[in-house]
Amino acid sequence: MTLVAGVDIGSTTAKCALIEDGRIVGKSLAPVGVELVKDAERALEQALAEARRDRGEVRVVTGTGYGRFKVTFGQFTVTEIGCHAKGAHFLFPGTRLVLDIGGQDTKAIKVDPNGEVVDFAMNDKCAAGTGRFLDVCAGALGYDVSEIGALSLGARHPVKVTNTCTVFAESEVTSYVARGKDPKDILAGLYGGIVSRSLSLMQRVGVEPEVTFTGGVSKNEGMVRTLERRLALRVNVSPLSQYVGAVGAALYGLERPTGAPA
């Protein structure tokens, strides 16, 4: 019985997953703050508390995400690209393509039948088309981002959101609201834009079933439906989709000789 932990320090949230015997036994999620090292520590502590386990029982801690070098108490670091591949493969073994939309970036990752990365593509640094974009636009509509997923279902006349820049899109949304447009239709327009930008990344690595959608934005049902419609495919989304990177990181730890030097 080996207990391993993966800590994913993203741009927006810190996540931790604990795995033992092929099962996820604990997890945690919290926004990242100012001190990433502390956030990482806390993520692990909270996951341990949820699993009612002790720090001493953890054999390997692997860090991932943009802040992976802040997981200073861990033994390994792996890029989030490798971790999303591995995590998605663990949750959906048939996965061939992972789309990860997080707080600040979007990645398309092609994986082989063993969950190894074959190819990947990601966008340049700009908030357009990321979770942050949705956060800001949801705010302009007067909602929290966690509410807008269900809200958009059943839109009939999606508006055309022409701006990609988050700031411009925010005013565009505001002006649609002022013109009395239905939030459903505005959201559908926003999703359409994000999905087509994501598709362009997915095309880069090649779209093949099965597609697994990960990262915080995959919790948005409207986004999932829009993606499915454009791909004409069913897309895997796990209830743990925001933890996929952390799960993958934990699994990497299992492949290492236990007690590897720090």
Binding site: R68, F69, T72, T77, E80, V118, M122, D124, K125, A262
Partner: protein
């Protein structure tokens, strides 16, 4: 960042010698210009150094000046100046560096670049060449000779292509005779071409040693330095001798086991122009993972010598024509694709790394398709990253490093060799 902490390894003597040559070259440009010591500007791709030098011209290559500025971190002020003149963000960084530098008086840390008395444009592989030389001609009002080099679409040049270039070469010679009052000396050209040939053969031998395992050469980062003589000083005795020095030292590396990347783990073919403003940082990202480039396309921008496009004193004009046709970016995409595939095979590479240049469409437009071909049709792991060859503002180190780490990680796992790197700051 996870640096190996070691200095990149160069061939000691060759690198010193190369430095001297560069210094001597720029020192030689001091005071050049005017009828006594006229200056010709030329482009690297398919250049006509041998002919133009034989008429007593000093030759300036603004592309090389530009890359030297970038490596020395002085390109940005030139670029900004050009932008203030109206050159947009998307214009080739070399062009902006040069035109900015010209407006600012030509001062560089390696000497003052004299203005041109003659502009020779070898339109070989890049349309921007034409635009760039037009701008220089407009500024300086000096004669511009346009050598039109047909795009190479068949592996072997067609007779009409060669005929067209040869006709133009004779016209260039007539122009040079008129401009300098000197008579053309065919025997002298043949002798010069013989020296060129000697340098070219030495260079080809150097490049071929990347086939060995481990590779005794770094065919991208290091080779870039040894490109200088083959492109700038070709036809001179010093250039011809230089490659003997280089190759002797490569042999020494093999004997003593002092390889450029001490523990060669990944063998790469690299396609694309280097990110000169962040050259060292970029190289670090490779070395950290034990990656060595065994072959690269960029060192072939001057000419594809290793594919037989060599100067030949017995067929002076025809061989110059063939050489110009063969410059790497003058090759059509199907030819470029084939070449890269052959490099991967012949040099036993594990993967391909493509470096796209945001402001260079000639090299870059289509690299995504190449990537698609390598990965999806041939199953060769390939990474595509993008920055710029001149403009430091386009190099995002954290993002590039993240992508490279992810790529090498996955290569590593597929090779199933060593553990992933430890946590480092």
């Amino acid at each position: 960042m996870g640096d190996t902490g070691t200095e990149p390894r160069f061939l000691t003597t060759a690198r010193d010698r190369q430095r001297e040559m560069v210094e001597e070259y720029y020192a030689g440009l001091a005071g050049a210009g005017g009828p006594k010591k006229p200056v010709a500007y030329m482009l690297v791709g398919g250049n006509l150094t041998e002919i133009v030098r034989s008429f007593g011209y000093e030759v300036v290559f603004p592309e090389i000046v530009a890359l030297n500025c970038a490596i020395k971190h002085v390109s940005l002020p030139n670029i900004l100046h050009a932008e203030s003149q109206g050159y947009g963000l998307d214009v080739c960084g070399y062009v902006k560096n040069d035109l900015g530098l010209q407006e600012l008086g030509g001062e560089t840390p390696f000497g003052r670049i004299p203005p041109p008395d003659l502009l020779v444009c070898s339109f070989s592989g890049c349309y921007v060449y034409v635009k760039w030389w037009e701008a220089l001609a407009e500024k300086y009002g000096c004669p511009l000779f346009m050598l039109d080099v047909p795009y190479l679409r068949d592996a072997t040049p067609q007779p009409e292509d060669i005929q067209y270039i040869v006709t133009q070469l004779h016209e260039l010679i007539a122009l040079l005779e008129k401009a300098t009052g000197r008579a053309f000396d065919p025997a002298e050209l043949r002798a010069t071409l013989a020296r060129s040939r000697r340098a070219e053969e030495g260079w080809v031998d150097y490049l071929a040693s990347g086939r060995r395992r481990p590779s005794p050469i770094e065919a991208y980062f290091e080779a870039v330095f040894y490109m200088f003589p083959i492109n700038v000083l070709r036809g001179t005795e010093v250039a011809a001798d230089f490659y003997a020095t280089v190759n002797a030292e490569v042999d020494e590396r093999v004997r003593s086991g002092m390889y450029p990347v001490p523990d060669e783990k990944f063998r790469l073919v690299v396609e694309g122009v280097p990110p000169y403003p962040s050259y060292r940082t970029f190289w670090d990202f490779f070395r950290k993972w034990g990656a060595v480039s065994v072959a690269a396309t960029y060192p072939k921008v001057g000419g594809l010598f290793d594919r037989g496009f060599l100067h030949d004193p017995a067929r002076p004009f025809e061989s110059i024509a063939e050489y110009s046709l063969g410059a790497y970016v003058n090759q059509s995409w199907p030819l470029r694709r084939t070449l890269i595939e052959e490099y991967v095979r012949d040099f036993g590479a594990d993967a391909v790394l493509i470096h796209g240049i945001k402001s260079c469409r000639s090299f870059t437009a289509g690299q995504g398709d190449l990537r698609d071909r390598l990965i999806h049709d041939l199953g060769i792991p390939t990474l595509y990253i993008e920055s710029d060859h001149e403009d430091p503002r386009y190099f995002a180190p954290a993002q590039i490093k993240n992508r490279m780490d992810a790529f090498f990680e996955s290569l590593d796992r597929r090779k199933g060799t060593t553990p992933l790197p430890m946590v480092s700051g």
